[in-house]
């Protein structure tokens, strides 16, 4: 595959992994006539259907696969949180005066941060500044010693990660955190699981309802995989897949939950330039077109500067700066603490 993927004229080649990876019917049919490239990746197709999902639950029939039936009505009833996220004007996530200490270590000290709905909010800072801890607070792994967390205007207290996931918070880990002994599809299905309603008995007795629901979930999951261009890996086990593919699987799992708040912890680490670009586009479209609010931690400045609407800079657990990329980049404090001399 890589032969083609890395040949000089790749702009006019199908994307590497997806092109080569024996595309599913849908993918191949989806290739844009002008540039023989999956439309969703092709800059010359602004009208391409948005990424991921649309408010209102069931997945839209994606043009990349006109033959695929729409998701079953059992999907996510009553509109996915994404809707509310987009509608209510209140902030998607707001941290006020959050302080976290581990033993002696002050990981966070009185950090304020507000993510406006449908925006990409970058968090940068030196290693050990507290970025991941911030995430851990936002998704319930760490209970702050002080400070409050609000989601869409409601204050959250002592909610555990799985509760928050139920409320539409999704997160990717700084590592990969894939389920290595189940297939890629199942990895994503676990993410989509929060849209299932059938209970234990239904499962135990294997009632038709369970089967129906399962089918719906699978369609959801496949749609997400397809949009990330890794549908062809659905039946594989993550362990031996190329690294970027695994990164995408992790992302797909988060997206399958159709979150309205997405926390991405160094999603680009270890990715090549091309994958990074795609990731950037993806993140932007998520925010711009689904009103998904994204909180992004990255050390790749070019990416951060490109996709973020707003950036918060942490150092030693304190917020030392925040503002638009432009403002932040020229902030001397940031330069000193984080960027060092060579910027971007």
């Amino acid at each position: 595959m890589k032969a083609r993927s890395h040949s000089p004229h790749k702009e006019h080649q199908p994307r590497p992994r997806f092109g080569a990876a024996r595309p599913t019917e849908s993918v191949r049919r989806a290739q844009c006539a002008s540039c023989a490239r999956a439309p969703r990746w092709c800059a010359s197709h602004p009208e391409d259907p948005p990424w991921g999902v649309r408010p209102g639950g069931p997945l839209p029939p994606s043009p990349s696969s006109p033959d695929r039936p729409t998701g079953s009505p059992t999907g996510s009833p009553g509109g996915s949180p994404a809707a509310t996220g987009a509608v209510t004007g209140s902030t998607a996530l707001a941290l006020r005066g959050v302080t976290v200490t581990f033993g002696g270590v002050k990981a966070l000290t009185g950090v304020d941060l507000a993510v406006a709905p449908g925006t990409v909010h970058g968090v940068i800072g030196p290693n050990g500044a507290g970025k991941t801890t911030l995430f851990n607070v936002a998704c319930g792994f760490v209970v702050p010693d002080e400070g409050t967390i609000e989601r869409r205007g409601e204050r959250l207290t002592r909610l555990r990660p799985h509760d928050l996931a139920g409320l539409g918070t999704a997160r990717t880990l700084q590592g990969l955190g894939l389920f290595d002994r189940v297939t890629v599809l199942e990895n994503v299905l676990v993410g989509a699981d929060r849209h299932a309603r059938s209970g234990f008995l239904t499962a135990l007795l294997g009632l038709p309802r369970a089967a129906r629901e399962d089918r719906a979930l699978r369609e959801r999951a496949m749609a997400v995989l397809d949009r990330l261009g890794i549908a062809s890996y659905a039946a594989r086990y993550p362990g031996s897949l190329p690294y970027p593919v695994r990164k995408r699987v992790a992302l797909a799992r988060a997206l399958a939950a159709e979150p309205d708040l997405l926390l991405l912890d160094e999603p680009a680490s270890g990715l090549g330039a091309d994958d990074m670009t795609e990731l950037g586009d993806l993140v932007q479209s998520l925010a711009a077109e689904q009103g998904v609010s994204v909180l992004l931690v990255e050390h790749h400045m070019d990416l951060v500067m490109r996709v973020c609407d707003e950036i918060t800079v942490l150092d030693f657990g304190r917020r030392i700066a925040s503002g638009t990329p432009a403002q932040v980049r020229d902030d001397p404090a940031v330069l000193a603490a984080y960027l060092g001399e060579q910027v971007g």
């Binding site: 595959m1 032969a3 080569a20 990876a21 024996r22 792994f141 555990r160 990660p161 799985h162 996931a165 999704a170 997160r171 880990l173 700084q174 590592g175 990969l176 955190g177 894939l178 389920f179 290595d180 002994r181 189940v182 297939t183 890629v184 599809l185 199942e186 299905l189 676990v190 993410g191 699981d193 929060r194 299932a196 234990f200 239904t202 499962a203 135990l204 007795l205 294997g206 009632l207 038709p208 369970a210 089967a211 399962d214 089918r215 699978r218 496949m222 062809s232 659905a234 039946a235 594989r236 086990y237 993550p238 362990g239 031996s240 897949l241 695994r246 799992r253 939950a257 160094e266 270890g270």
Partner: protein, 387 residues
């Protein structure tokens, strides 16, 4: 693994239950044929294979799908067995058999909730230690409450007379009278089939999916909205319930529930059966149960035929049994079923790879070909710090 794992490639429609029932039906036919064509002794042996199989099935779900190790399932079987014994204490015992079994399951299930909840936060050796203690503690209770539980002698189990309609049915179907031992064997195997269908349903459902997620990566699972505690406890309870059913069948087969019947050895052999057969696979569990049931006798017979005195032969039996255990682990680390399966996968992988390399420059690890079921983290190149 894969026996329970949902074939990811299959997003084809179709009732889960339907397929499992089909398999179950075939299974039942086989059972009838085998039981009818074998002696009373074989029937009883098969009955014990069945109850071991049921327990092993439950354990393989717990350990294989949810990654919780239990050295205490013998104790859970004991609870099922004692419940049965208490309900079937004399010929006039009025409770119908199905209710008895149900009661055994429910009681064990309740105990399972307690233990599972306590064990939910434990991992690896700590869980092993806790369940180990459970395995040795429970028989002691039976000793302590002599009056109610019969102490060392244990409780006799009186097998209620075979209902007339069953006799008639059996005769109608098979043309033979139904002996008591065969009756027990049928009960045990019927229970086994039912249990396995239910377990298979769960394993293939979202419940099973969440169990596997928790097994593979707790943090990621929690982030994906899986309630860790609930997942682990439910897995434990399910396998406890199976153990309860197994205990009930054991009581009916052995016609006694006594502490010395539920030593630590039982729990440990159960676990080994599961692993030797192939962790996570119901077929493997059954295979392991067969191993447990038949190996000792076979070995002893071989010994006797080889001219050893009965006593020497008996002493050798465990030796051979142990050696077999060690060898299986060394030669078939994924258990018998698992190893066979991976062998097949490898073949397919190699073939497809060959196909790939012929058409130059395509992805060597092409889609559609499943990777090896488990990839050793050490060998997979991976980035970012472990979280």
């Amino acid at each position: 693994m894969a026996a329970l794992r949902t074939r990811a490639s299959a997003w084809w429609a179709g009732s889960i239950l339907g397929r499992h029932l089909l398999v179950a039906l075939l299974g039942l036919v086989v059972v009838v044929v085998v039981l009818e064509s074998s002696s009373d002794f074989r029937n009883l042996q098969l009955a014990s294979m069945a109850y071991l199989g049921i327990a092993a099935g439950g354990l393989t779900v717990l350990t294989g799908l949810n990654g919780q190790i239990s050295l205490g399932h013998g104790a859970l079987m004991a609870i099922g067995a004692y419940t049965t014994a208490l309900l079937l204490d004399d010929r006039e015992a009025s409770t119908p058999l199905p209710l008895v079994v149900l009661a055994a399951v429910v009681v064990t299930l309740l105990v399972g909730i307690a233990v599972g909840a306590a064990a939910a936060r434990l991992h690896g050796p700590y869980l092993a230690g806790a369940t180990l203690a459970l395995a040795v503690a429970v028989p002691g209770i039976a000793l302590y409450f002599k009056e109610q539980l019969g102490g060392e002698q244990g409780l006799r189990v009186v097998l209620p007379d075979i209902p007339a309609w069953v006799l008639d049915l059996a005769y109608f179907v098979t043309g033979q009278d139904l002996t008591r031992s065969r009756y027990v064997a049928y009960l045990a195997w019927l229970t086994l089939v039912i249990t396995f269908v239910l377990l298979a349903n769960l394993a293939r459902s979202r419940v099973g999916r969440r169990w596997r997620a928790v097994r593979d990566d707790e943090v990621a699972a929690e982030l994906a909205g899986v309630h860790l505690g609930r997942a682990r406890v439910s897995a434990f309870v399910v396998s406890a319930a199976a153990a309860g059913a197994a205990g009930a069948m054991m009581a009916l087969t052995v016609r006694l529930a006594a502490p010395s019947g539920f030593t630590l050895t039982l729990s440990l052999t159960l676990l080994s059966a599961v692993v030797l057969g192939g962790l996570g696979s119901l077929a493997g569990a059954l295979l392991g149960a067969a191993l447990l049931t038949f190996l000792p006798q076979v070995v002893t017979d071989i010994g006797v035929d080889a001219g050893l005195s009965d006593i020497r032969a008996a002493e050798l039996a465990p030796l051979v049994y142990g050696v077999v255990m060690v060898l299986v682990i060394l030669l078939a680390p994924a258990g018998i079923v698992g190893t066979v399966r991976t062998a097949l996968l490898k073949r397919r992988l190699r073939r497809s790879a060959a196909a790939q390399t012929r058409t130059a420059g395509t992805n060597p690890t092409a889609p559609g070909t499943p990777g090896t079921p488990t990839t050793d983290p050490a060998t997979t190149t991976s980035k970012g710090s472990t979280t």
